[in-house]
C-alpha cells in the first residue's frame, strides 16, 4: 500500500500543528465558534449530538495492521473503546474532546493517517472497490489512480471552497462494488479496442435529497490525461455550481439543470484549454505510485478447496468469501453486523484482532467496505478455517454478506445532529426478527439500507429495500422504498407509500419479504423479482 514520502508526512505534520494551535486559540477565546467551525471541519471534527465527532480518512478504504492497531489505541485513549466504520470507507469516533484533538491527530500522523478532507466543501476522501488488487474480475488495480487523484486533490487551492462537498470514486471492473455511479465523479478504468487503459467518466451522481445516477460523459480518457480531465470537470462545476442554495449546490443539480450534453461540452472546452497548460503530472509519478500497490508474493500450488465438513464454516465460506485472482486465495469479509448488533461498530479489542489477522493472514492488509464491513483481501483457502474460528470467537464471524442481516445504517438520531429518526434500533430489530424466524435464510441476496434523514448517509435510495427515517410532528416515522441498487445494475429505489412507525416498518419489511418469497422464480434475487413484478404486488400487501 502507499507509503508517505517526506512531502506527504511534512504536509500532514504541519497541518496537525496548525490545528493544534487553532484549538488552543479557540479554548483561550481568541477564536469564536463561528470562526473556528470551518477550521475544525477542515480537520474532520464535527460537533454532534453528544460530543465532538472525528471522522478519519481511510484512502480508498485500505489499511495495514499497524494503522488498524493505531485506530484501536485511539478508540481507547480518546474515545470510549469503540469506533464506527462509515458508508464512505472511513472511521468515526463519537466522543472526542476538543482539548485532546491535537494529540489525537498527532497519533494518527504517526501511522500516516489524518482527518483532512473528511468534511467541508472540498474533494472528499476518494473511495474505491474494496476488493481492489484482489478481485478476479478487475482489469487492473484501481488504487494507483485513486492515489494519484488523492494527491492531486489534497489541499488543492482551487477546490478547497467548492459550492458543496465533492465525492470521487475509482473502480476498474464491470462489477460495481463501490456505488460508482452514485458519486459526483465516478471513474471506471477501462480498456479501449486497442487494449489500452483509460478512464470512463460518469459525472453528476449522488444520493441525498435529490438522488441522481451519473451519466457517462466520456467513455475513454487516456490515463496520461486523467488529472487534467478531472480538473476540467471540477472547474466547470466550480464556475457554475450554485452557491445561493446549499440544497441545489451539488454537481448533480448542475448537470441535471444544465443538461449532460451542455455540461460535457463545457468540460471538453475546458479540457482542451487545460491540455495546453500542461497541468498533468508526469506519467513517472503514476509509475512511482504503482509499486506501492504491487501484488503480494502469492504462493503457488495451494489447495483450492477447504474442508467443508463443519456446516457453519461452510456457510461462512459460501456467504463471506469471494473469488480471488490468484489461485488458492479468496477475499474474506469480516461482518460487523452480528444479529442485533450496531452496523459498522467495532470495539477496540475487535479492531486489534482484525489488525492481527490482517498481518497474519492477508499480507498485512485490510479494507473498509462502504457497506460497513472489513475485508481481508488475500487469504489462503487452506487457512480459512483457522481464520474463521478466531473471527467467530470474537463475534466477527456472522455469515451474512449481502443478506438481510447485512444492513447499512447511518448513526441516525442516536448520534447525528442532522438526523430525524433513529436508524440503528430499526436495523437491530429487523436483524433480530429475521434471525429468529429463520426467514432470513430463505431470502438470499437482499440489500437493506437505512438512513435517519434525507441526507442519505445510509444509502437508502440504493437499497433493494430502503428505509428513510423522517420527523412527523416530532415523532419518528419511516418511509419504505423498494428497487434500488448501487451496483452495475444501478437504480434508484421508489417509495411504497405512506410511512410507518418503528414497529410498523419492521413488520412492513417482513411483508415485503413474504411477497418476494411467494412470487420469486428460480434463481431470482429480491431485486430481480421486484423488477419483474413491479411495485403493485408489494403495495397491495402493505396497504391493502
Amino acid at each position: 500500500m502507499y507509503k508517505y514520502d517526506q512531502y506527504d508526512q511534512a504536509m500532514v505534520d504541519a497541518r496537525v500543528e496548525e490545528f493544534r494551535d487553532q484549538c488552543r486559540r479557540r479554548l483561550e477565546g481568541k477564536l469564536t465558534e463561528d470562526q473556528f467551525k470551518p477550521l475544525r471541519l477542515m480537520n474532520g471534527l464535527y460537533l454532534q449530538l453528544h460530543a465532538y465527532m472525528l471522522r478519519v480518512a481511510i484512502p480508498y478504504g485500505t489499511l495495514n495492521g499497524q494503522q488498524m492497531h493505531a485506530l484501536a489505541d485511539i478508540a481507547d485513549r480518546y474515545d470510549k473503546g469503540y469506533a464506527h466504520f462509515t458508508t464512505r470507507q472511513n472511521i468515526q469516533y463519537n466522543w472526542i474532546k476538543l482539548e485532546e484533538a491535537g494529540d489525537l491527530l498527532a497519533d494518527l500522523a504517526k501511522v500516516e493517517m489524518h482527518a483532512i478532507q473528511t468534511s467541508g466543501n472540498c474533494i472528499r476522501n476518494i473511495s474505491s472497490d474494496h476488493f481492489a488488487g484482489a478481485a478476479a474480475d478487475e482489469r487492473v488495480d484501481p488504487r494507483p489512480y485513486a492515489e494519484l487523484l488523492r494527491q492531486w486533490s489534497s489541499f488543492h487551492p482551487e477546490f478547497s471552497y467548492l459550492p458543496r462537498k465533492f465525492k470521487i470514486c475509482v473502480i476498474a471492473s464491470e462489477k460495481d462494488r463501490a456505488a460508482m455511479r452514485l458519486h459526483d465523479i465516478g471513474i471506471n478504468i477501462v480498456r479501449n479496442d486497442a487494449g489500452e487503459l483509460g478512464a470512463a467518466f460518469y459525472v453528476g451522481g449522488g444520493m441525498g435529497r435529490t438522488p441522481m445516477i451519473a451519466p457517462l460523459i466520456r467513455d475513454f480518457v487516456p490515463l496520461d490525461q486523467l488529472v487534467t480531465y478531472s480538473e476540467a470537470c471540477l472547474r466547470v462545476y466550480n464556475r457554475h455550481g450554485r452557491r445561493d442554495n446549499k440544497y441545489k449546490a451539488r454537481i448533480k443539480i448542475l448537470v441535471h439543470e444544465m443538461g449532460a450534453e451542455e455540461y460535457t461540452r463545457q468540460v471538453e472546452q475546458e479540457f482542451a484549454h487545460l491540455l495546453e497548460q500542461g497541468i498533468e503530472p508526469p506519467l513517472a509519478e503514476l509509475e512511482r505510485i504503482k509499486p506501492y500497490f504491487a501484488e503480494p508474493d502469492f504462493a503457488t500450488g495451494l489447495p483450492d478447496r477447504a474442508d467443508r465438513s463443519d456446516p457453519d464454516f461452510a456457510l461462512w465460506i459460501d456467504r463471506n468469501c469471494v473469488p480471488h485472482k490468484a489461485a488458492g486465495y479468496v477475499s474474506a469479509v469480516i461482518s460487523l453486523k452480528p444479529v442485533g448488533g450496531i452496523p459498522g461498530d467495532a470495539t477496540s479489542a475487535q479492531m486489534r484482532l482484525m489488525a492481527d489477522l490482517a498481518e497474519e493472514y492477508s499480507f498485512d492488509e485490510c479494507r473498509v467496505m462502504h457497506t460497513q464491513n472489513i475485508v481481508l483481501p488475500h487469504v489462503e483457502i487452506g487457512r480459512l478455517h483457522e481464520l474463521w474460528t478466531k473471527l467467530d470467537a470474537a463475534e466477527l464471524g456472522a455469515p451474512n454478506l449481502d443478506q438481510i442481516g447485512d444492513i447499512i445504517a447511518c448513526p441516525g438520531l442516536d448520534y447525528c445532529s442532522l438526523a430525524n429518526a433513529r436508524s440503528i434500533p430499526v436495523a437491530q430489530k429487523i436483524s433480530e426478527r429475521f434471525a429468529a424466524s429463520g426467514k432470513g435464510e430463505a431470502l438470499g441476496e437482499l440489500k437493506l439500507k437505512i438512513s435517519g434523514c434525507i441526507n442519505a448517509c445510509g444509502h437508502h435510495h440504493a437499497g433493494h429495500v430502503g428505509i428513510l427515517g423522517v420527523d412527523k410532528k416530532g415523532v419518528e416515522n419511516y418511509q419504505l422504498l423498494l428497487g434500488g441498487s448501487e451496483a452495475e445494475d444501478v437504480s434508484l429505489a421508489k417509495i411504497t407509500g405512506r410511512g410507518f412507525d418503528e414497529a410498523g416498518i419492521i413488520a412492513a419489511v417482513e411483508t415485503v419479504a413474504d411477497v418476494y418469497l411467494d412470487q420469486r422464480q428460480d434463481g431470482e434475487r429480491f431485486l430481480d423479482t421486484y423488477r419483474r413484478i413491479g411495485m403493485d404486488s408489494f403495495k397491495e400487501a402493505l396497504y391493502g
Binding site: 479554548l27 465558534e33 453528544h50 466522543w95 476538543l98 416530532g474
Partner: protein
C-alpha cells in the same frame, strides 16, 4: 418551561443550564423564562458553553422533559448504548426518550 442546553467547550459533553452554571444532568435544568437569550449570549461569550440554544420542555415528576425527541436523546445518550449515557439508569429505561 424553557430550558437551555449546549455542549461543554472542552469536552463537547451535553450540558444544561441549572440557574447558575451548566450541569451534565437534565434533572438540574432550570426554567430560563424570559432570560434565555441574555443567558445564552453571556455564557457563550464567557466560553462556559458552546453551541447553546433554548428548547421547550415539560416539567414532569421526574424533572424537565424536552419537547423534542432529539433533545431527549441528547439528555440520555445513544439509546442503543445505555452503558454510555449520563442518566440511563436513572431514567428507568428508554421509554422516557420515546
Amino acid at each position: 418551561m424553557k430550558i437551555l442546553t449546549g455542549n461543554d467547550l472542552k469536552s463537547g459533553a451535553v450540558v444544561w443550564w441549572d440557574g447558575q452554571g451548566w450541569s451534565l444532568h437534565i434533572a438540574d435544568a432550570a426554567d430560563a423564562g424570559e432570560n434565555a437569550a441574555e443567558i445564552l449570549a453571556r455564557e457563550e461569550s464567557a466560553r462556559r458553553v458552546n453551541a447553546a440554544y433554548a428548547i421547550a420542555a415539560e416539567l414532569t415528576e421526574e424533572g424537565p422533559r424536552p419537547a423534542h425527541i432529539k433533545d431527549r436523546v441528547r439528555a440520555l445518550g445513544p439509546t442503543v448504548r445505555p452503558d454510555l449515557g449520563y442518566e440511563a439508569a436513572a431514567r428507568n429505561g428508554w421509554d422516557w426518550v420515546i
